[in-house]
Structure formats: C-alpha cells, structure tokens
Amino acid sequence: MSEAVTEPAEENAESMSTSKAGAAVASAAAAKTDDRLAHRGPFQRLLGQPEIGAVIGAVTVWAFFWAVTQKFGTVAGAQPVLDVAATLGIMSIAVAMLMIGGEFDLSSGAMTGTTGLLVIYLTLEVGELGGAGISYWWAVPLSLAFALALGWWNGFLVERTQLPSFIITLATFFALQGMKLGFAKLLVDNIQVGPLVQAKLDADGLPITEQVEACNPITGETEMVTQEVLRSDYSFFQGIFASEWSRNCHTLASRDFWYSSSILIGLSLMVLAAFVLNFRRRSGGSGGPGLVVFLGGLAAAVFGYWQLHNTDGIGANATWGGLLALGIAVGLYGFATWRFERNNDPGPLRFTSDVIKPGVLGVVAIVLGVVAARLLNSNVGTRLITLDNDSIQTVVAILTVVPAALLIAGALLRRASKGKTPVARLLLGSSLGIVVLAILAMLVTEQGLRATLFVGLISLGLIALSVAAFRAGFTSATARSAVLLLIAGLVTWLAYMVQVESTSVKFRAELFTVMLVGALVVAVWAVISRQFSIRQEFDAGSEQLGRSFGLIGVLLLFIGVVVRLLYVNENELAREIAPAKFSVRILWFIGFAALCTWILARTSFGSWTFAVGGNQAAARQVGVPAARTKTQLFMLVAGAAWLVGMLLAFRLNSLQASTGDGLEFEYIIAAVVGGNLLTGGYGSALGAAIGALIMAMARQGIPFALWNTDWRFLFLGVILLLAAIGNRFIKDRADNLRSE
C-alpha cells in the first residue's frame, strides 16, 4: 500500500480492495437506480400495485364469460359466483396475509371442516347420535377457541423448530384429516355428520310448528307458510352466518336512478382523482373562470342526466346522453383550468421510430380485426375442419395448432424477453402456446374464429397503441395527445361498427355505451394532458385529495353495483325475472377483505407482516417481534377457517367428514393470482379477494357456457400460470419505469 492515499477524495484503491462480487453488486445497483429518485405518476403507481394484475384479469374473465354465455352477466348469474367467492375469498385473504408474512398453512383447508364438524358434534343430542348436547352459545365460541389454539400450535411449532411451515402444517393437515374421519366413524358411524339441531321440541319431542307470513323468493309475493319454530340459539347464529336476502322480495322503484347515478358520479370522481394525482397544482391566480366553466359543465351534465332518466325513445336518449357527455367533458376541462398549472411548452408534434412502430402495428391490427369480422360469417356454427370422427378431429386440430402456436408464441416472446434465460423463454412460450391451443380447440367454428380474431386483434391493437402513447409522452405532450386522440377515434369507430354488425342486444346497447364512454374519457385526457403540466414532485395535499376522490369513486361504483344486485324494480318483477338469493356470507367476505386491507395498510401489525416476510433478520434487528407476528398470522388463518366452518355448517346443516380437505391449494392459487409473492414480503389482501373472485367466475362460468366442467382444471392451471407470469411482468415493468 502506498502512502499517497491520504485524502478522502482519492478512493480508487477502495474499489480494488472490495471483493469482486461486492463491486459487481454495487455497480449493478448504481446502473439500475443511479442517485436520482424518479417521480412516479398515478398510472405507474397503479401498475406497481400488487393487485393490478388481478383486477385486469377479473375484468377480462368477466367480459369473456359475459360475452359467451347468456346467464353470466345477469344478477341470477352473479349470485352463485359471489357465493363461491365468499368462502374461498375469506380463506385466500387470510392465507395471503400469512404468505406475505413468509409462511404457508397447508392445514387451512382441513381446518374449515374441522371447526364446522366440531360445532355439530358439540350440539348433537347426547346418546345415539354421539354428541355433547350443549347449546350453540357455548359450542360456537368453543370451536373458535379450538381453531385459535390450533393456529397458535402451528405458529409455535414453526418458530420453535425452525422447520419450514410447509412440513409442520402438512403434518397438522394429515392429523386433522385423520381425526375428522376417525371421529366421524367413532361418534356417528357415518361420514356425513349432522344435521344441526334446529327446531324447538314440545313435551313429546316433536318439532313445534307455526304459521307465518313469508315472502315467496320467486314471485316476491307474501304468503302464509307453515314452518318449524327454531331454537333461539340456533336462529341467532343461523342469522349471523347463513341468513339470505331474496332479491325478488325487495323492490325499489328508483333503483335504476340510484344505480346509474352512483356509477356515473363514481366514474367521474375516479377521472378527477387521476387528474389531481397527475397534474401540478396552480401556484398563482384565482382560476375563477375555470371554476365557472366547471360548474356550468356540472349543471349541464346534471340536467342532461335528469332528462335522460325521465325520457324514453332512442332520439331523446341520444340527445340527452350527448348533453350529459358534453357536460362532463366541459366540466372536467373547467376543473383542470381552475386547479392546475398550464403547460406553456407542450412540445412539437413529432414521432420517434419507437412510437411509430407500435402505432402502425396497432392500427394495422385493428383494421385486420375489423376485416376479419366482416369477411367471416357470424352465423356459421359448424366447425372449420370437419372430419367424420370427433376425436380424430380434435387430434388433428391439436397436431396442427400446437407447433404453430408454439412457434408464434416463441417468436413473440423472444422479442419480449430479451436477455432472459432460454428456459424462461421456453416456459413462457409453451404456456402461451397451451392457451392458444385451448382456445382454438374449443372454438374452431367459423363463428368462434371470427370472435377470437376480432377480440384478439382489437386488444392487441389497443395495447400497441397504448404503448405508443406512453412512449410518445417521453418526446412531447403534443405527440402523446395525438396518439390518444387516434385511440379515441378508433374506439368510437369500433363502437359504431359493433352496433351495426352485432346480432346480440347486449353488444349493441351495453358494449356500445361502454366503448363510447371510454373513448370520451381518453379524448378528454388527450386534450387536458397537453394543456396542463404534469406534477413531478411530492405534494402531500394533492396526494390526499386524489386518494380521497379515488376512494369515494370506487365506493360509489361499488354502491351502484350493490343496489343493482340487491333490488328489483316493478318491470323486472312483472317479467318474472329469475330469483336470486344473496347470502350474508358475502358481507363477511367484504368485511374481512376490508379489515385485512386496513390492517396491512394502516397498522403496525401490517408493517410487521410485510417485514417478517420480506427480510426477517432486518425486522428482528429493528425490534419487530417476528415470532409473535408470525404466530398471530397463523392464528388469523385459523380464525378465518373457523369463520368459513361456521358459514358452511349453518348453511348446509350437515357436513361431510372430508369438508375442506384439499382446498388449501385453491386458497394459495387465489392468493398468487391476486399478486401475492410466494416467497413473502409482497402482496395484498384485496388482491387475494379478487383472485378468489376470478376463480369463482371460472368455476361458475364454465357450466354457464355449457362446457364440460372438467375443463375447469385446465382453466385453473392456465389462470395460475398467466397470473404468476403477468404479475411478475407488470411488477418488473413498473419497477424499471420507476428508475428510468
């Protein structure tokens, strides 16, 4: 070592003395992030959210089944989906919390059955039935205590032995499975356990009956029925865990008003939220004229909506709908003028080649999609390739399609995943190939091919154009606006195209409206994002306001959908609409999702959960009680399993001894689909809830589409793979964008 190295500035020797690996890590880190911290706009931040992939997936799956089935998009079709999603969702949320904390619980499925069975055993009559004969007031809390003890035991063993939770909880799973079967045989000598004791008995041991007025869930009319008088403890818990809301028994004349206005206001607020989060607050001037324009637009929108609601007929609808749209657009522009700083230098209208390429690709894809839709006949339901034997045909279809699909997918993905390993490429390629294969194998009719080509090419085109718009934003605001206006124009064109071409009312009316609204929003955004400057710095006030707007907007959308689902209006009742019964378990699901989301976002426990899963040693180091946090997470899963056990027991009254066994992987799949990282430290409860919704939609949509339900598992596999890859892709993109 020389004596020359005496100044702090002279640190060349330093990099020599650090290890090679260390230097490599450091230079990689430096290259990736530099010293500057880039600002993230609202869209980038949205893309960085763990549940965004699940939201997109849910919308896609919903739209798919909405388009291909008759029943799926109706209220009667929504009911079984929500019913399945509720129990699956409660568990997948709890499992997701545990996964974020870095652990698994394979006993979670078996535990749901265990707690339900326990309540049945505890309440069954003493004697031949083999029960303990105690009241529900004791049995229900006792089963909760048992579940929590089981969760604590799992956590305690994992912490004490430091073995993987996979092994510990697998042992618990087998123990529970064995005990459930063993006790069922021992106590009631049957694998079907139940039914729950419900009725009040008279002196002779016979159920007491009474005459009551009840609403007929199908016609919505009140009639007299004879039913058993329930024990007070049973009816209390039955009410909490299994009461139902019969839609046809609840009429609300102004339902459509509440429904459409809350959706409209909700959507507008979400656009405003995006505005507030994206643009810079104006520093000087009153913005008074802007406020006037804003209020004027608002008034016009309200008037238009009022007229739209009170008039009928296509001409009037178009007029007042137009006024409504115009009012909203003008109002938004006024709001922007009122609140935001004007952008004095929007830049020139110039496109670089990395904008032109996806732009041209997008336009070409959309035109091709339209051409395909016009050339192919939508009424031909026979298969494209017809052979004598059905199974031979399938084989031929597979043999021709597989290599082609793999080849296309491989070529596409080679471009997409530059610098990735060949294995990843192969995996990605083959998975995409399987998807294409699955779709084509099912839809090789001309009709199906037309729909696939149209939807596929249009989606591809819109995605390519969005990429073009995003890239154009790096050059100038004007260029971005031009691309966005192009998108809005194309979507409007497509909307009219769908309206003219389609034979289905729901496409002509509903899809048409949605596409026009989408085009309007994009067009308004195109104009405003050029006129006003985008915020680059942290602004606590704007963040707060934007978040509040966004949250209220989502809530209003939610309320709108709930009103639509829960009430009928007189017209529908007169048309003898299919009945739908919503179970209180959906409320439990929503409540649990909200609670867990709040815990993760707002409490110390939430922070600790992320920390013990993300880097346990670091968490311990700063004083996080890691062992306690994990044990509490295991207990949370057990508590959720208890809740689901109660929901099942009071709904079904008797349970199979194998209830819940094997479902633990579905919970984990739903959590992964929802954007939760298998290795812990990242994810969201809301994502898991949406993941459960996607799986429930798949499970219910397939029978609605009149396919063989065996396809469900193919669907599950494909969804899981796509979700895992998609989430990774989105997250990588979002992270990279951040540091660019």
Binding site: E3, S27, R40, A618
Partner: protein, 266 residues
Amino acid sequence: MESEQGRTLLEINGISKYYGSIIALKDISTKVYAGTVTCVLGDNGAGKSTFIKILAGVHQHDDGAVLVEGEPVSFGSPREALDVGIATVYQDLAMVPLMSVWRNFWLGSEPTKFGLGPLKVIDTAKAKQIAVEELGKMGIAIRDPEQPVGTLSGGERQSVAIARAAYFGAKVLILDEPTSALGVKQSGVVLRYIVEARKRGLGVIFITHNPNHAWPVGDRFMILNRGRSLGDYAKEEITLSELTQLMAGGAELEQLQHELASAMDD
C-alpha cells in the same frame, strides 16, 4: 488516548467471548465518545462481527464489562440495546427491500394514534412527513415515500438506516461494514453520512476492513487481529500506512510483499 471530544457514552472494559474452545474475543477495551467516530479495523476473522454483536445485543459477553454512560449492561436482545440508545446498521440487514421507504424508516417503532394490542393505527401522514424530512437532513431527496427501498441505491439504503437510527435517539451508532459492497461513489455517500452523524453528536462505531475508508472519517482507531486488540489509537498517534500495516499483521504483509515481488521477477 485521552483526546476527549465529548462525554463518554460507552465504555468497554476487557470483554471476552468464547464459542466453546474457540476464543472469539479476548480482553478488548475501548471507549466511545459523543461526537467522535471510533473505527474498528480488522481483517476477516479478526473478531469484528463478534464485537458488534455483543454491543448490539445479539450475543452476550463472557468476561469483562460494557458500561453505557457509566452503568454496566448486558443485553438480552437487540431491542434492549436499542432501548439504551445503541443502534446497529448491518450491511445486508439494514432494510426490507420490497417495503416502502417510510415503512422501513419507522419499522418496529411506528408512530401510532390509537389501537389495541398489535392493531395500533399508524399515523401515516405524520410518518411519511417525518421520513421525508429526516432523509432530507441526510441529503436524500425523496419525492415519493411510498417508493420501495429496493429501488434506492446501496449507499442510499445504508443512509436511510443511518437516518433512522439517528432519529430514534441513538446515542451510539454501530455501522457494520457499510461500504464493503459499495462502489467508489456510493462509499463516498455513506462516508459523508457518517460525518453528518458525528456532527449531530452521535458516537459512531465504524467497522471496516478498509483503512482507506476509516482514515478520512475516524477520530480513533482500534485494530483487531485474531480476537485480540492490537491497540487503540487517536488519529494523531498513527498514520494511514502504519494503520494498514498493523491491520494486515505488519510483518506478514512485508513477507507477502517480498514473495509477490520475487514471483513477479520470475
């Protein structure tokens, strides 16, 4: 040795640590004063990690005494060390990469408004505000406190940890090899934060095996070799080259230089 620049925060009197028959540390003594940087230097296996783990509460010493402001202590857990004001920043363990900057900053000591048991509600507005301010004082401009720490550079991550320790009232800040995985520029960033922490009156213990990093920021230097102290020097008592020599084991290094020179001649 008596170059006092502040009051004595931490006094270590002849501590030893044994792992079975292995002597990890033997008879180490030093003092840490407020507003000074004490560098602990040593090659791999010199006992640096054992030394800091004792101070951080991960291990307990077998002989000798650790005095915090005159009071003898022995820590059962990292939390206890934190509670008396000794904060440790580990090179790899400083942060949870997927968590946001503000959550990392407050982790384990979240500012809560109300709540029961583990469900205490974090005052997020205040937490973000303070995190942004405190990091600003360290010279890191954070625009979005929701940004995951993983998107910060290595030097900045260390600095967030240093800012956190300083904010939570640490009197003694132990930095375990903060620069060893960093490039030239990033190391400079961290060294600047060490000086910043010293200015604020913290007693800093800076563990490193790189005398070129220790020299510009250090006020005192303790050299460890095979679990034993080779001396505890104030800056004016020693030169960088002496320090480097001592650290590498003096004679051994000369021997090595001769061997290398003759090998090059061949």
